[in-house]
Symmetry: C2
Subunit: 351 residues, 2 copies
């Protein structure tokens, strides 16, 4: 008998590489190439450091109010956390406590099975169709909860929201989480459905469309009852998860709607241009509504291309996993960064 | 059958009140009355907001390195998190997975039973002696883990470290967590014991002695093996728990040893003076080695005094709980704040 017998042993999630060297084109973790809203920089200059000696507001009111104003949703229907990973980790703990398996696609955000393993939650990974689309009938079976990333990651494919609604409607006895980390880049959100279905939790993040991955801010929408349950669990874990800079600067980032819309449409424009160029170079991919493209080449292996780009200081993401090992997930950077990517790909392909 | 049947229902921890009005003497949550180290303010002014678009370093290296240098402990023996609450919440999840009960005192940090309830961990609360001391023999029984706050909260009493060592030594088959949130204010740390006992986890925080409650930084020390298990669980929960300001400003706060020692000794000096004044006014308390005094009056009820102070814009903390309902936990503020407290107490007591 040893204390190690009672350790919760797990195989942790592996985040994308965060290289410490400079001069690398880092398009491997779906970060935003543009800085946060200008008010964030200004607020940092004038922030009163003396306030740091006090605990932050546990209700996160300044941030929740800003989200409430932006999305026209009651404050009691909003939850905030340390990135959408924190929100999702708390949601798994709060809602997925059945003996039946939680359902999610075989190719999706690779943290879902890690959370299920951490909490010893049974789960079943349902294969996507060959074109990476979700067959919703697969989710009309007894289960302990459902989580769908929409648009999905790393595929980038969007499931139409009427299909998502079918999944929610046909599963009234479990919580359905829709992870919309990438929904701002031209996808559609199921946010309006929170008043129609009390079993729906919609999760979004500041890490992509609001250029704040480094600040760790995520949020969720749901009916008052589902948010109350989530808050109770969160307050049983850590009263003060979000620090003062995250609350204050996060609120400022939400308030600047014009900057948000401008930078999002810049990324969409770059993405659409890069799609055409990749097709010309012989790549194929499901149509992306996100800030990345998940593509494979018709002739070259994913590993070959990945290694060539890595050697040329361009970092994309690749998984050595079934069905997707020939794919590269390429985040949308600035136009300049994508020009260098395309030119290096031409060099590799002799085009 | 409803999705609510599978919700993890809990009674959350209630943090101390965070009043939104100004002009209140807030000595209810053991915050530090002095601002963080001067370098923190300076760094805020020059922080590059563009970096916020990227994910923070998941290894938290800048902060871990600063702690390693300060405490002369290998980096592999250090864990950091979003306040010591986050560190403790992850430690409960990682290490307390036995069918036997986790042991802790009946009067201690009131989050311990909340975490146990959240994770459905069996636990047993062992009564402190009448003088609020821990009888260590009570912990030499079969159990699934032990957590001791030392100095204890809210009592402020320190258990001698040779007694803590007896508890660790006699429980080699479980993890013993020593929560040293208040150890910097004249208490003794068991940190040197991490190289002697592989079942020891020592937890500390920036919220008290480093004036950074609002930044949410906590940390733990243990042998390499225990820290590795904790990191695995943490990376299965959220890859990036600590945001860039917490990492950068936290590291600067650690580096300024002179400021740390100066402000800690100012608080100790104020505490020792206030102890004498409280005794003169008819209060009694266990000797405190923390930044608070847990005191009751020989004649007046705790509720009477609490209500009088509250009406006079002085906020202290009181629990309506067995054995301690007549006690007030008074955080040590500035000398000026404590002078006002003492003068109001004199007014109430007609002295």
């Amino acid at each position: 008998m040893s204390w190690e017998d009672n350790v919760r042993k797990v195989v942790p999630y592996t985040p994308g590489e965060q290289p410490k060297v400079k001069n690398i084109i880092k398009i491997n973790t779906n970060e935003n190439p543009y800085p946060p809203a200008p008010a964030v920089q200004e607020a940092l200059r004038t922030m009163d450091v003396d306030q740091f000696r006090k605990y932050p507001d546990p209700t996160c009111d300044v941030l929740v109010t800003a989200l409430s104003d932006f999305y026209k949703v009651d404050k009691e229907k909003i939850f905030v956390g340390v990135g959408s990973d924190d929100v999702l980790a708390m949601a798994f703990l709060t809602f997925f406590n059945s003996d039946k398996p939680v359902l999610f696609p075989d190719i999706t955000y690779s943290f879902y099975d890690v959370w299920a393993d951490l909490y010893r939650i049974p789960y079943r990974q349902i294969p996507l169709m060959d074109d990476f689309s979700v067959k919703i009938d697969d989710y009309f079976v007894p289960n302990g909860g459902i989580i769908l990333a929409n648009p999905n990651a790393p595929t980038g494919a969007q499931l139409p929201i009427d299909a998502v609604e079918e999944v929610i409607k046909n599963n009234p006895d479990v919580v359905v989480i829709v992870d919309e980390a990438y929904a701002d880049f031209g996808g559609q959100s199921v946010l309006p459905l929170i008043d129609k279905y009390d079993n729906l939790l919609v999760v979004q993040t500041f890490s992509k469309s609001r250029s704040m991955a480094g600040m760790r801010v995520g949020y969720a929408f749901g009916c008052k009852k589902i948010i109350k349950y989530l808050l109770d669990a969160k307050f049983s874990f850590n009263s003060y998860t979000m620090n003062m800079p995250a609350l204050e600067l996060g609120a400022l980032a939400v308030k600047d709607r014009a900057y948000f819309e401008k930078t999002v449409s810049m990324i969409i424009n770059t993405r659409e241009r890069v799609k055409k160029q990749l097709i010309e170079l012989g790549f194929e991919f499901a149509d992306s509504k996100t800030n990345f493209i998940f593509a494979r080449h018709k002739e070259k292996s994913g590993k070959e291309i990945f290694d060539f780009l890595r050697a040329n200081n361009i970092l994309v993401r690749r998984w050595d996993a079934p069905r997707i090992s020939d794919y590269l997930r390429i985040s949308i950077g600035t136009d300049e960064e994508m020009d260098i990517l395309i030119s290096k790909l031409k060099e590799f392909l002799n085009k």
